[in-house]
Symmetry: C2
Subunit: 112 residues, 2 copies
DNA sequence: TAGTGGTGCTACTTATTTCGTAGCAAAACT
DNA sequence: AGTTTTGCTACGAAATAAGTAGCACCACTA
């Protein structure tokens, strides 16, 4: 399993179009969540693991490698943290929080 | 495998916080891609399959069910298409395209 | 009206990904 | 020196995704 990066073929697409690489990378379990958690503050390996409901260390390990290769996170004295690119990604993903609340309401009202 | 919906426990989180449900749902392979493709135009089952590099029908089938349950897509005369919620999701995800291009450039310049 | 082709699937097997647990080496703390 | 904490690796089991085959249901055509 290789890290999906733009400009090379990614899982589910041979085009190498950047957005497809994003879908591939973020479409893997935990990646969005990890970035989300790191958005709050830098965290250690075990800290991340705890925040992410005890995700298995093997997966966390591969995720960290992928996100590092993708230049979205860095390892520092303070633990793992978002890179500049990672921060800008979270910035563009921010509206998702508001959207999720609307979604919640819609589903709620539909099923009651 | 159940559809991750807000207000109930989702994979990787017992909190039921809406944003976690989003991560869970979109973190499954193909879901973002499917929405992305439907954003352009409504499509048939086989149309979607073709656009998504021949994804297996079994997975597409379960995805369609999940996205339908999540009220993000509907089935119509014209094929599958985004619901209002689905459209608003794609709207908030739109900036991702621009971001992906920046990302592309950064990775490119770093590795040359 | 028998044949052709497209569509929306289901069934089944295999491959890949993720989980869960155990454990270990290195650093930090007591 | 002994105990914790941290950052992992290993490995078997479970869940998810891929790949292929095929069938029922149209719509159209010869």
């Amino acid at each position: 399993m290789s890290t999906p990066l733009p400009n090379q073929a990614v899982r589910g697409s041979t085009s190498g179009v950047p957005i497809m690489a994003v879908f591939d990378l973020l479409g893997r379990k935990w990646n969005m969540r990890i970035l989300w958690e790191l958005n709050n503050k830098p965290m250690s390996f075990r800290g991340l693991q705890a925040r992410c409901d005890g995700m298995s260390p093997s997966v966390l390990n591969t995720r960290i490698k992928q996100l590092s290769e993708a230049k979205l996170i860095d390892k520092t004295e303070q633990g793992y943290q978002l890179s500049d690119m990672g921060q800008s990604l979270m910035l563009t993903l921010n509206p998702l929080r508001e959207w999720s609340h609307k979604w919640h309401k819609v589903l709620d009202s539909d099923y009651k």
